[in-house]
């Protein structure tokens, strides 16, 4: 089900990157061969086949400069793709922009507001730009959005006087001005304190629970692991993997790791237990645990006279999966 679109992936005739069943389930965001080459020749996004299932919380991951924001700009009709096509809420972009975007709340590359206006006046300004927003309810909607991000008390304060976290919150409030079917959040927790980060996370879960699809980009793995049902991983403009989190990590076997001064003897025990992939290093031995109960391994080790200093089962983390997918650490892409 999980599909790889990296170099090693086989070229499929059907649209790549589509989880099984995508044909029946509508996708909130769909892109086929989406490519952006900037004027300078820089290919920021390269042949992107993205499928964001409706109702998912989709984590869009990638190192700095990997093309996340550029992708989001193309999805929102801000940037014209060099080639390829994308759909948002079933409408082709940018042609169907006026039908799709009123149902999309977007935070793109950080907050941007008029510094000389208050938070509330800023939201009213953006609301006025939405042709489908009802001016009669603007007060209630702005108030609800501000309350929702905990800015109710600072509503009348000038944006200039907002702290970084308050600005970020205001930008999130701006995405909540109307009934949304899709939220596109580019690094929504940038600049927030831990408390704010937690609040944003629970806000996203809350919004997703109402059935809204959330497409959230981030370069922080831990953040995404906690709130997303699906992820897509960008690497230097290419989508190297996408799918449900559980499936992406499922392909990676859990390993048992033993800390011991008797590495060789321990390795022999693990071999005897027919564990695969036994690796012995100085002071530690590891192997794929498979279906063997760890306590049995422990008993065998102790029985064989191995001094066990530590024993742990290592489940594959998202980060490990990424390191496998992206080849290296999570650093800046040119």
């Amino acid at each position: 089900m999980t599909t790889m679109t990296g170099e090693g992936a086989p070229e499929a005739a059907s649209p790549r990157g589509a989880p099984a069943g995508a044909s029946t389930e509508p996708a909130s965001i769909l892109s086929r061969g989406l490519t952006k080459r900037f004027a300078g020749g820089q290919v920021a996004v390269d042949d992107l086949h993205l499928t964001v299932p409706r109702g998912s919380v989709f984590g869009f991951l990638g190192p700095n400069g990997s093309g996340k924001t550029t992708t989001i700009r193309m999805l929102l009709g801000l940037v014209q793709p060099t080639s390829g096509a994308c759909e948002v809420l079933g409408r082709p972009m940018p042609a169907g922009l006026s039908e799709a975007l009123p149902k999309v709340g977007a935070l793109v590359e950080g907050p941007a507001f008029y510094p000389y206006l208050s938070g509330e006046a800023n939201l009213r300004r953006y609301d006025a730009a939405d042709p489908l927003a009802d001016p009669r309810t603007v007060g209630a909607r702005v108030g609800a959005a501000l309350d929702r991000v905990g800015l109710g008390a600072a509503a009348g304060k000038r944006y200039r006087a907002y702290s970084l976290g308050m600005r970020q919150r205001l930008a999130i409030a701006a995405t909540l001005l109307g009934p949304r079917e899709l939220l596109v959040l580019d690094e929504p927790t940038n600049g927030l304190d831990p408390q704010g980060t937690r609040e944003v996370r629970s806000l996203i879960k809350e919004i997703a629970a109402d059935g809204t699809t959330v497409f959230v980009s981030s370069h922080l793995l831990a953040e995404v692991a906690q709130m997303c049902s699906h992820i897509g991983v960008m690497r230097a403009g290419r989508l190297v993997a996408q799918g449900p989190i559980a499936e992406l990590t499922a392909g990676h076997a859990a390993r048992l790791r033993v800390e011991t001064p008797h590495a060789a003897r321990a390795a022999a025990v693990l071999d005897r237990l027919e564990l695969a992939g036994v690796r012995a290093a100085d002071g530690e031995v590891s192997a794929e645990i498979g279906g063997v109960p760890p306590e049995r391994v422990c008993a065998e080790l102790v029985g064989a006279g191995v001094a066990v200093r530590g024993l742990a089962v290592l489940r594959p983390s998202l980060e490990e999966v990424f390191v496998d997918l992206t080849g290296e650490g999570f650093d800046v892409d040119g």
């Binding site: 905990g150 831990p194 937690r198 831990a222 200093r309």
Partner: protein, 377 residues
């Protein structure tokens, strides 16, 4: 021995539930259940080589399944803390909430709303107010100076005209200000229009609202035209009030020598204001076109002002006489046609035609550029 270690590991996987204050580091402090974050710290304790593996132990055991559940627990605990969120949700989902009835598209009304918002920004912005104040103060100063100088023997005829009738101060003030100060004020608003939104990043949020590129551009044009009219009206009004206060007022002697009643003279001034506003709006259209080409509002403002100066230098060079009719600035000063008898409709119609041509060309350029441009700010 082994138990000690396993205990620690299980403590590790239980950690997310505890929702420890996670402000460990700025960079990775992404929340409570930071199995990776904590794990990495563990790693540094037990040895650099194990770092990542250790991290995956503690976070890993529960990172994908338990971790998420833990997160949910933390949310439920955290939810009451989020002030007003419950209220917000109620307003959100409740049947009587603000989203109860969906809006039918009403393009004209929606555009009117955006224009009102735009006008509100323009006319409440301190810098723009300051420019209007300066435009109002200059005629007052001119009036006072003329009043003082007017007593002299060999003064230019224009001064004696003003000295004879305060209404003429409006005419004199307009002739002065339309050369540079009025265009400057319009250039600021026009140059700011798109470039300011782009530079401030607000353009991307207007467009994803979605304001619509053509609609936003139309609103920017309308807003600029209203400002141009307001600027001209401010000059005329300030001059009129000063003229009434400092000079005798009566039937108006026109430039062509005819004298018309005061009321008719005021109507002529209205015509002057309208004509000047049209000229300024045409210039503003150029300013908006320049504004769609850059993300630096000051650049757009400077660009259009430099354009004005060039035009005016051109019109001073005798050899360039043949191109004068094609220069926008040439037609600004022909508003004096309104102060002749009969009104010089031929010249002024030509002027309006020139304004319309400039505005149309600039509008087309702005539209072509703005609707195809990548918004990367």
């Amino acid at each position: 021995m082994s138990t000690a270690r396993t205990t620690r590991d299980s403590a590790g996987s239980a950690r997310p539930d505890a929702g420890k204050p996670s402000g460990r580091t700025g960079a990775t402090a992404s929340g409570a259940a930071g199995g990776l974050v904590d794990g990495r710290a563990d790693g540094t304790v037990s040895g650099a080589a194990d770092g990542r593996a250790d991290g995956t132990v503690s976070g890993g055991a529960g990172s994908l399944v338990d971790g998420r559940a833990a997160g949910r627990v933390a949310d439920q605990d955290g939810r009451p803390a989020g002030a007003g969120r419950a209220a917000g949700t109620a307003a959100w989902a409740g049947a009587g909430g603000p989203f109860a009835e969906p809006m039918r598209p009403r393009p004209l009304r929606a555009t009117g709303r955006l224009l009102r918002s735009e006008l509100g920004l323009t006319f409440r912005r301190p810098r723009n107010i300051a420019m209007l104040v300066v435009l109002a103060v200059v005629p007052v100063i001119m009036g006072v100076v003329l009043r003082v100088v007017g007593m002299d023997e060999d003064t230019p005829s224009i001064v004696t005209q003003v000295a004879g009738n305060g209404v003429m101060l409006t005419f004199v003030a307009m002739s002065m200000l339309i050369q540079l100060l009025l265009p400057l004020a319009v250039a600021v608003v026009a140059g700011e229009s798109i470039a300011g939104e782009a530079g401030g990043g607000t353009l991307r949020y207007l467009l994803t609202a979605p304001a619509g590129r053509t609609r936003l551009l139309l609103v920017k044009f309308a807003n600029m035209a209203v400002f141009a009219l307001a600027a001209c009206a401010v000059v005329a009004l300030a001059a009129l009030v000063t003229g009434f206060a400092l000079f005798p007022v009566g039937p108006v002697t026109l430039l062509s020598g005819t004298t018309i009643p005061l009321f008719d003279g005021l109507l002529r001034l209205l015509l002057v204001v309208a004509y000047c506003a049209a000229g300024m709006a045409a210039f503003g259209a150029i300013g908006i076109a320049v504004s769609t080409m850059t993300e630096v509002p000051i650049g757009a403002v400077a660009g259009s002002v430099v354009g004005v100066v060039f035009f005016q230098v051109f019109s001073l060079i005798p050899q360039l006489e043949p191109i004068r009719p094609y220069l926008l600035t040439t037609w600004w000063s022909t508003f004096d046609g309104a102060m002749r008898d009969p009104v010089a409709t031929d010249v002024m119609t030509q002027g309006l035609f020139a304004f319309a041509s400039y505005a149309l060309i600039a509008g087309a350029i702005a539209w072509g550029r703005f609707t195809s441009r990548d918004i990367t700010s």
